[in-house]
Amino acid sequence: DVKVTQSSRYLVKRTGEKVFLECVQDMDHENMFWYRQDPGLGLRLIYFSYDVKMKEKGDIPEGYSVSREKKERFSLILESASTNQTSMYLCASSFASRGAETQYFGPGTRLLVL
């Protein structure tokens, strides 16, 4: 079974704090993704990575950065957390071959920024 894990299920942070969200997958997937999910807006892609040390901006990268130093691990960084970054954050991974590969999601991290 594919397993994608995220470091925290719930986080509470203060405005201006630097926040790290970590994601680990155990299926040797090339691609990894970070999304945020908000009511009425669906899933929106923040960043994705198709290889170690490679990253591409998604639809809403502002205020976020990412790091992929190892194939199995993809980190999302909120440089200076703001209240509008309160959201559910979802990590996903997939194989790269053929293009239309299924994304497998982690359990999510619910972040509250006060």
Binding site: V4, G40, L41, G42, L43, L45, L90, G99, A100, E101, T102, Q103, Y104, F105, G106, P107, G108, R110
Partner: protein
């Protein structure tokens, strides 16, 4: 504009009352259409991938179908444990497009 639209937004069914959820898309160059189930506070769980019009996939009480413009998720004789939000996603040449989901509530 490339987009994925799911309807209805919410659906309440009695246990055993069959129905269908719709996912319509205007995304060009479809390479795959995906259905996920999401329980409250959890990540989406993969259900099906459909690659071409006419394809069908089944799993227990769920059956997914695909045409050139839309996909249906048919739920036959649903049970309360089928209550969840069902998400549809479309992949074209280089991007996934997600719908906003249909929240299904099955009453005993």
């Amino acid at each position: 504009e490339d987009q994925v639209t799911q309807s209805p937004e919410a659906l309440r069914l009695q246990e055993g009352e069959s129905s269908s959820l719709n996912c319509s898309y205007t995304v060009s160059g479809l390479r795959g259409l995906f259905w996920y189930r999401q329980d409250p506070g959890k990540g989406p769980e993969f259900l099906f991938t459909l690659y071409s019009a006419g394809e069908e996939k089944e799993k227990e009480r769920l059956k997914a179908t695909l045409t050139k413009k839309e996909s249906f998720l048919h739920i036959t004789a649903p049970k309360p444990e089928d209550s969840a939000t069902y998400l549809c996603a479309v992949y074209n040449f280089n991007k996934f497009y997600f719908g906003s989901g249909t929240k299904l509530n099955v009453k005993p």
